[in-house]
Amino acid sequence: MSLNNLMLNVEGLIKEFGNFRALDGADISVKEGKILGLAGPNGSGKTTFINVVSGVYKPNGGKIFFNGKSIYKLEPHKIVHLGLNRTFQVPKPLSGLTVEQNVKVAAVYGSKEGNTKDKINSALSSVELDNVKHKEASSLTSAQQKLLGLARALATNPKMLLIDEIAAGLNQHELKRIADMLIKLNKFGITMIVVEHLMSFLDILTDDVVVMNAGVNLFRGSIKEASMNEKVVEVFLGR
C-alpha cells in the first residue's frame, strides 16, 4: 500500500478529557475513493475520532494526514477548505436560518470553486431536501436535520466525508435510500468514513470496516470476518 493514495491516514491518535482517554492511540486510514465503515460499542470513541480529525476538538497526540498533508491541530474551517468535512451524530443545524441559507453559508465559505447557486441546488437535491428549502431548519425532524448537515458538508465541495450515524432511527426502507445516496456520492469521487451500528447498513456500502473499542481499533477487515471475530462479537455485536 503506497502512502500516496491514502486519502486519510491517522496514526496513534490520542484525545483526553480530563484524565479520561477517549482515544488511546487509534490508527485508521482510508484510500482515496473508498468507503470505510467504522463501528464499535457505545462510547468507544468513534464520534471523538471524527471530532478530532475534523478539528472540532484538539488532539493530545498522534498524527493526522489528509491527502499527504498534516492537519493535526488545524482549525476546522481550514480543514474544510482542504476538502474534508463531516456530519454530526446529534444534528447541529443553524436553527434560525432556512434550509437554503444553511447550505448557502457552506457554499459561499466552504470552497471557492463553483457557482454558489449550483452548489446549493445540487447539495439540496442530493439529499432530497429541495422541497423544504424555505422551511426553518429548526422545524425539520431530527433525521432531516442530519440530512441537512450532509447537504452543508456537500456544499463545501469535499473530497472526503466523515459521516456519523446518519441512519440511526430510520426504517429499513429509508436506510436503503440513504445508503444509495451515499453510494452515489462515493461514485462522484467522495471518499468516506461512515460510522454506523447497523451492520446491514454498512454491508450495502462497503466491505471494509474498522471496529473500535475503548479508544483503539480492535479489528479491521470485512464485515463477514467481523461477525465471526470473537472479540468483536463479545464487545460489539453481542451474543
Binding site: N51, V56, Y57
Partner: protein, 291 residues
C-alpha cells in the same frame, strides 16, 4: 495589619457572598438575568429601615418578615414574567432587558413614595461593644452579619441537597424540559426558587447598613454589577459557588485597600476577566461536550 485584613476580608466576603447568591440562584434555575437584583436588596434594606424606625423591630427579626414578603413577591413576579418570557426566542437575553425595566420601576416607586434620601440603621443596634479575634477588634455587627451569612448558606445548602424541593430545583437548573417529564411541577418549583432568590437578596439588604453605611433608592445598579462579578468568580449557575466568589471579592478589596487603596475598585473586575478567560466555567464549574 495583614491578619486584620484577612479577617476583615473573610467577613466582608461572606457578606458579599450573601449579596450575590440570590442572583445566582435565579440565573441557575431559570437562566434569567435578574438585573433588578440590586433593587431587591434595596427593598430589603428599606423594609428593615421602616420596621426599625416605626416599630423598633430589630433587623434580625426582619429576616422572618422579609421571608414572607419576598416569597410572595417572588412568586407573583415569577408568574407575571417568566412563563411568558420563556416562550420567546432568547429568554436569557430578553430577561436582561425586562428586569432592567423592572429595576427602573422599583427605583421610581421608592423615590416617588419616600424620596431619594440616604437612610440607615444606627450601627450600635446590636450594642456598642466590639469583639476580637486573635487580638483584632471588629464591630459586633460584623460578627452578627457573618453569622447570618453562614446560617443562610447552610440553609441554602440544605434546601438544595437535602430537600425534595431543592432537588427538583437542581433538576430544573439542568433541563427544564426533562424536568417536566420527570414529573416535576416546574412552574411551582421555579416560582418558589424565584421567591427564595428574592428573599436572599432582601436579607443582604437588611444588613447592608452595617456593611455599606447607608441605603438609598438608587443603590441597586451598583450592587447588581458587583453581584455579577461575584457570582461569575464562583461559578455562574452554581449558587454554592457564590460563597467562594464573595470571599475572593472581599479579600481582594480589603487587600487592595490596605496596600493600594486607590486601585481597589479595579481589582474585582480584573479578577473577573482573568477567571473568565482562563476558567470560563468559574472556579468550580464543570462543562459538557459541544459536539
Amino acid at each position: 495589619m495583614f491578619e486584620y485584613t484577612v479577617l476583615a476580608g473573610i467577613m466582608y466576603g461572606l457578606y458579599f457572598g450573601l449579596v450575590g447568591i440570590g442572583l445566582n440562584l435565579i440565573f441557575g434555575v431559570m437562566r434569567m438575568i435578574n438585573l433588578a437584583h440590586g433593587d431587591f436588596i434595596m427593598l430589603g434594606a428599606f423594609l428593615a429601615y421602616w420596621l426599625f424606625h416605626l416599630f423598633g423591630i430589630n433587623p434580625l427579626f426582619v429576616i422572618a418578615i422579609s421571608c414572607v414578603v419576598f416569597l410572595f413577591l417572588g412568586i407573583a413576579f415569577y408568574y407575571i414574567f417568566v412563563p411568558r418570557l420563556l416562550k420567546s426566542k432568547d429568554p436569557e437575553m430578553l430577561s436582561f432587558i425586562l428586569f432592567f425595566g423592572l429595576s427602573q420601576v422599583i427605583e421610581a416607586i421608592i423615590i416617588l413614595s419616600f424620596g431619594n434620601n440616604q437612610r440607615s440603621i444606627p450601627s450600635n443596634t446590636f450594642g456598642h461593644s466590639t469583639f476580637s479575634i486573635f487580638g483584632n477588634r471588629f464591630p459586633i455587627s460584623w460578627l452578627i452579619v457573618t453569622i447570618v451569612a453562614i446560617v443562610v448558606f447552610i440553609a441554602v445548602y440544605w434546601y438544595f441537597y437535602h430537600t425534595k424541593l431543592g432537588y427538583a430545583t437542581r433538576a430544573i437548573m439542568a433541563s427544564r424540559d426533562e424536568s417536566l417529564v420527570s414529573g416535576i411541577n416546574v412552574n411551582r418549583v421555579s416560582a418558589f426558587a424565584f421567591g427564595i432568590g428574592l428573599i436572599l437578596a432582601s436579607i443582604a439588604g437588611i444588613f447592608s447598613f452595617f456593611m455599606m453605611g447607608a441605603a438609598y433608592p438608587s443603590m441597586g445598579t451598583n450592587l447588581t454589577v458587583i453581584s455579577f462579578a461575584i457570582i461569575v468568580l464562583g461559578s455562574l449557575g452554581n449558587p454554592m459557588g457564590t460563597i467562594i466568589g464573595g470571599l475572593i471579592y472581599g479579600l481582594a478589596i480589603m487587600f487592595m485597600q490596605t496596600y493600594l487603596s486607590s486601585w481597589s475598585n479595579l481589582l474585582p473586575y480584573l479578577l473577573l476577566i482573568a477567571v473568565m478567560l482562563f476558567k470560563p466555567e468559574g472556579l468550580i464549574g464543570k462543562t459538557v461536550r459541544s459536539a
